[in-house]
């Protein structure tokens, strides 16, 4: 499937410390410490530099590519006061308004998005989506 990572044992192993870091943000005092000095807090965890950078940049696609799972990563968004819709939208390249409008209009169609190599909007050749990509093309 295009634009989809299956979180299996291998991903879980790769992302173990990243995901456990995320879970630590379920405690209010840890959220405070993280917000006060993100890098210092991240350095308490044996994560790869790439994972730390992805967290600092709030690049959820990068987080997922390095073993993160969305339910764990959601704790970062929660710490930032973001909703699941904002988090999900941030992985598409669409603006918040664009993503929200797409959902209100019935969401993303499965047509063209079932298999890698079709022509749906989630396929690699259409990334990133939304205004940002349009700007890029012009």
């Amino acid at each position: 499937m295009p634009g989809t990572i299956i979180f299996d044992a291998e991903q879980s192993r790769k992302g173990y410390h990243l995901n456990q870091f995320c879970m630590s943000l379920m405690k209010a005092e840890n959220r405070e410490r993280f917000k006060a000095d993100e890098m210092a807090y991240l350095n308490e965890w044996p994560m790869t530099q790439e994972q730390k950078n992805a967290v600092l940049a709030r690049d959820l696609n990068r987080c997922m590519a390095t073993g993160g799972n969305i339910y764990f990563l959601a704790k970062i968004g929660a710490t930032d006061g973001k909703s699941f819709q904002q988090m999900a939208g941030s992985m598409t390249g669409m603006t918040e308004d664009e993503y929200r409008a797409m959902m209100l209009a019935g969401g993303r169609s499965v047509e063209g998005n079932r298999f890698v190599g079709e022509d749906g909007d989630a396929q690699a050749q259409h990334q990133p989506q939304g205004q940002s990509s349009q700007k890029g093309k012009r």
Partner: protein, 293 residues
């Protein structure tokens, strides 16, 4: 004896919980959704269960990557609403039913389901949002709840068939409990949604409605649907729908085994309510209430 009288199916989107907690249910965005649950709230008042078995998945809240149980049953006296990162939801503590839960655990393990028994667990939106949808904002939840958690986060997750068979085993367990209890089983999660990557936001109403149709009329065939179909057609988090098969398998029109076919045929389920709405945040919302005849 205890008896499962009805099953309730519903999505459990966190944003729905936030909308309730923040008093936004009458806003234009949310109003159509909550309207779909008005009938259900009255139905629950008119048909008050003694216990609800609530099938849900934990979303990296009670279970970290340290221990991932495929199936976990809560046998505790009570469960605190979890802090998922936004602070705990302002909802009542969930009271358990330790005795019935222990009985179910015993019976279901002896039926060869390898449950994990959980005595301490904070419950996340997967459990509390369905309660909010069905009960509103009471001082206390109307009855004890037995949390039944299913791993749909890390693969391999249990197959639809395994979930369906588990439902049968749960019904058998409930019916072997001595006390007269009116038990409901709720299946939650889904419907189509994807929370990750460039395909985030996927919604498939055709799939969802066919799923609802088949869940009602031919759940045994639906149980054979492979994981890949859920993920491809209903999005990566659409896999949560396998949990609905647990609640459906616990209804009395489902044969426990070949010897039970005639008994099952004598029963039927009545569709009391059906509702479908897009969107809630990233998700298609489905809802169904079935009663045993």
């Amino acid at each position: 004896m205890a008896k499962i009288t009805a099953s309730v199916f519903t999505s459990h989107v966190p944003a729905i919980g936030a909308a309730i907690d923040l008093g936004k249910t009458t806003e234009p965005y949310w109003q159509p959704l909550f309207k779909g649950y008005e009938w259900s709230k009255q139905w629950l008042k008119d048909n008050p269960p003694d216990v609800v078995i609530l099938v849900f998945n934990d979303h990296a809240t009670a279970f970290s990557l340290d221990m991932i149980p495929t199936f976990a049953i809560g046998t505790a006296e009570a469960y605190q609403p979890a802090d998922e990162g936004w602070g705990p939801r302002p909802v009542p503590v969930v009271q358990g039913h330790a005795e019935l839960a222990a009985h179910i655990a015993h019976s279901v393990i002896q039926q060869d389901f390898d449950l994990t028994i959980v005595n301490k667990m904070d419950v996340d939106h997967g459990l509390t949002v369905p309660l909010s949808l069905m009960c509103g904002q009471p001082e206390a939840w109307p009855c004890p709840v037995i949390p039944f958690a299913v791993n749909v986060v890390q693969y391999p997750v249990p197959s639809g068939q395994r979930c369906f068979n588990l439902g049968k085993a749960i019904r058998k367990a409930v019916e072997s409990y001595d006390e007269n209890l009116n038990v409901q089983i709720w299946g939650t999660g889904g419907m189509s949604h994807q929370l990750q990557g460039p395909r985030a936001g996927l919604i498939n109403p055709v799939f969802d409605n066919a799923f609802l149709d088949q869940l009602i009329s031919d759940p045994a065939a639906l149980a054979a649907k492979p994981h890949i179909d859920y993920v491809r057609e209903a999005g990566s988090e659409g896999i949560e729908l396998v949990m609905w098969l647990i609640a459906r398998g616990a209804m009395s029109d489902v044969a426990y085994d070949a010897a039970d076919l005639d008994a099952a045929k004598a029963h039927s389920v009545k569709v009391k309510h059906r509702f479908y709405h897009v969107p809630a945040s990233n998700t298609a919302v489905g809802h169904l209430i079935l009663e045993n005849s």
